[in-house]
Subunit: 305 residues, 3 copies
């Protein structure tokens, strides 16, 4: 029988009385003990999944595989209602996809949806019966941003969260559904600014633009998200699902649009210009932890390759 | 012949010179002297309707009946252009529907639209030739929120206004069109947060999320709304109507979606889970003035029934 | 051979090292030396077009003609990627159309799109391969607002920018696409407030409502826009165009809606009520620089004509 991973580095104190209250439910057969890139903690009807894919939480084949397994198992666990995503890395939530392994992570995504596309994997999450909340500390760029956009709600740490959708710096378009979400959330002009500038946006500006629900100070974010998750988990599932369905019917873009964006991203990555820019970026430190602390600066210099 | 109700408790001083200027028009044949739950005051082309349904401005059969009559008569009064809704209760604008009289208030609504649904009553208001403004002091939850969302504009008192769309706490979906409006106004993630959390939102957060036009301090709100109403009333009606029509063509959800939401709400209210949660809430003080001052807290506890 | 206009009043110091860096590209054969109402400055892949149509940057036949020529030539210049619009008048960016020359400026617009409508001229700009940025100082009302709404991004000077869509004060509807954009950017209630009130909105409120990307202080706006324009201009054009196309597919209203709004505006302007209101406004100083400093006040008084 599987039991929950016990994460000794986890701050158990965070949970206080509620943790004790729900203690009898912590052990659960449905969630496997170990994911390579996700640390799990189930408390009642809430599952916390902390992304832990060092050195910088790149979305490569391993994280894609684990996300697929997590979603499959969590959806099958009828005791679960709410799924909270966090990161064990204070600087990176999900940095972006591993551009050297596009085919590989797409194949992992296909195990959930039948199509080799993280756009459809993310859209599956948006359409899931589970309520998903992203607690964002650190950077979410490109597919990282698209992942949190696929979640039902997202709250970001004011001091550390950084947002970007920088594909146009490579001559590419966002391929994971971010374009679809950003235009609907912030309108034409702000979505164009976000993408065409390939700039970093801090949490306050992301809140102003509607990219996230709210920016919050570090000392309240965790408690807020936990409290929100537990509150929602007390409500009947039928209502949660019905509301999600009705909202998605209005605001979640059609599958065809996600698929088309995904295809355009793939074409851009195979294009000589895209390849050349990706190579220039890698030479300047792209996909390394230190260099991406200021990715916006790095991307301004790809022209000279 | 009917004349306007003279409301002695009304602060006539508010109107100052303008009141005197328009004094000769205060008497009007079109608006009946007395509505049980609405206090009327007509000044030129502007009609002020103050909701007064003690003890807490529940939307039950009486208020539904009066709203229907008001709308019918106001639309038939060719001298009227602008309709301003306010509340005589500083803590409650419209609290929500009377859940013990769903069939009754729906039958009242049917007298306007032919369908037993307040969603269609509210949508009728959005599509009306009249320009509607809500001046929100106190609580607007569930159908209260949906009523102000149906108005063309809404301005809220920063110190007192409270917003919620808490149907999912009962396993139900918003049935009065609020879901349609909220998703279009604030996007998928914030609309999901609002509904799935069943939380109270203050006026500043409601403004940030786009739920209202603006939050304003108590000492300026009334003057602002009155001034805005008079300004609009000076413009030719043809232009006002044409703009509303063009805007509604883009942003007002189809009738079918309002009808479907209304049906889902009705189904949820008849469902055993919904019935059980409603009963548990009533036992804890739901639909009483005092207990609903903190409805968000009350709703967190329905699980233990 | 044509060369760039040398604008001696331009603050060359603004450009600093970047100006020197790009100096060899300042001369360009594609952009004509002189437009009557536009001062041009090309720097690399960025073209700055400063609107200079004294006394108050009215959009009449001359400015419409020059905008058409500029767009045609800029789109044909394969070295150009980004087009920045500014104003040489600190109080007026584009005031609005010249209501005494509607047929004339429409005929100029027709030279680009084949249809006598500035709505379609503006929509052409939104659909252009060029990335357009409006740096807004001073007033943009009616077609002025609609022009900046047609740009891909817009940043406004906090101290001076004023926004309005006041056509309903004349009994008319916005005819240049503004209604389409405003509803999608700020939602039903705020768009109705903007139009039905015919009020002036400052830059901070315009930012809050999503009318603009951001309001910025005068001492940073110019540098920000220039830096943004140069940054975008470094990225491959294919990606910029693909992103614009995908965004426009979601958020740019259909041609038929622009055409219909344009027709309604024309009908309103020919209507006796519209004619009468326009005449009353002209008698009160409408279309004069001084009186329009407070156009919102002027429009409140048209009733007494």
């Amino acid at each position: 029988m599987r039991t929950l991973s016990v994460d000794d580095t986890f701050d158990h104190g965070d949970f206080g009385p509620l943790h004790k209250l729900l203690g009898s439910e912590v052990a659960s057969p449905e969630i496997p003990k170990v994911f390579e890139t996700l640390k799990m903690r189930k408390e009642g009807a809430v599952l916390f999944a902390d992304i832990a894919a060092p050195p910088m939480n790149l979305l490569g084949p391993a994280l894609a595989r684990d996300l697929v397994s997590l979603i499959q198992q969590a959806e099958a666990d009828i005791a679960l209602k709410v799924l909270v995503f966090r990161s064990t890395d204070p600087d990176y939530f999900i940095s972006h996809v591993d551009v050297t392994k596009i085919e590989e992570y797409r194949q992992e995504a296909a195990k959930l949806t039948g199509e080799a596309s993280i756009a459809l994997l993310f859209r599956h999450l948006s359409a899931s019966r589970l309520v998903t909340i992203a607690q964002i500390e650190g950077r979410v760029r490109a597919a990282g941003s698209e992942f949190v956009l696929a979640c039902d709600m997202r709250f970001a740490e004011r001091e550390s969260a950084i947002f970007a959708q920088p594909e146009p710096a490579f001559g590419m378009t966002p391929g994971g559904g971010g374009l679809q979400h950003l235009v609907r959330l912030m309108g034409r002009a702000r979505a164009l600014e976000v993408m065409l500038s390939a700039q970093d946006f801090d949490a306050d500006l992301a809140e102003k633009y509607g990219w996230i629900n709210r920016a919050m100070p570090a000392n309240t974010l965790g408690d807020f998200v936990r409290s929100l998750a537990y509150r929602i988990a007390k409500f009947p599932e039928a209502g949660l699902v019905a509301v999600k369905d009705r909202v998605n019917a209005i605001a979640l873009a059609p599958i065809e649009d996600f698929r088309r964006d995904s295809d355009l991203f793939g074409e851009g990555a195979r294009d000589p210009e895209g390849q050349s820019r990706i190579q220039a970026a890698l030479e300047r430190g792209f996909q390394t932890r230190h260099a991406e602390m200021d990715l916006a600066g790095l991307l301004a210099d790809l022209n000279g390759h």
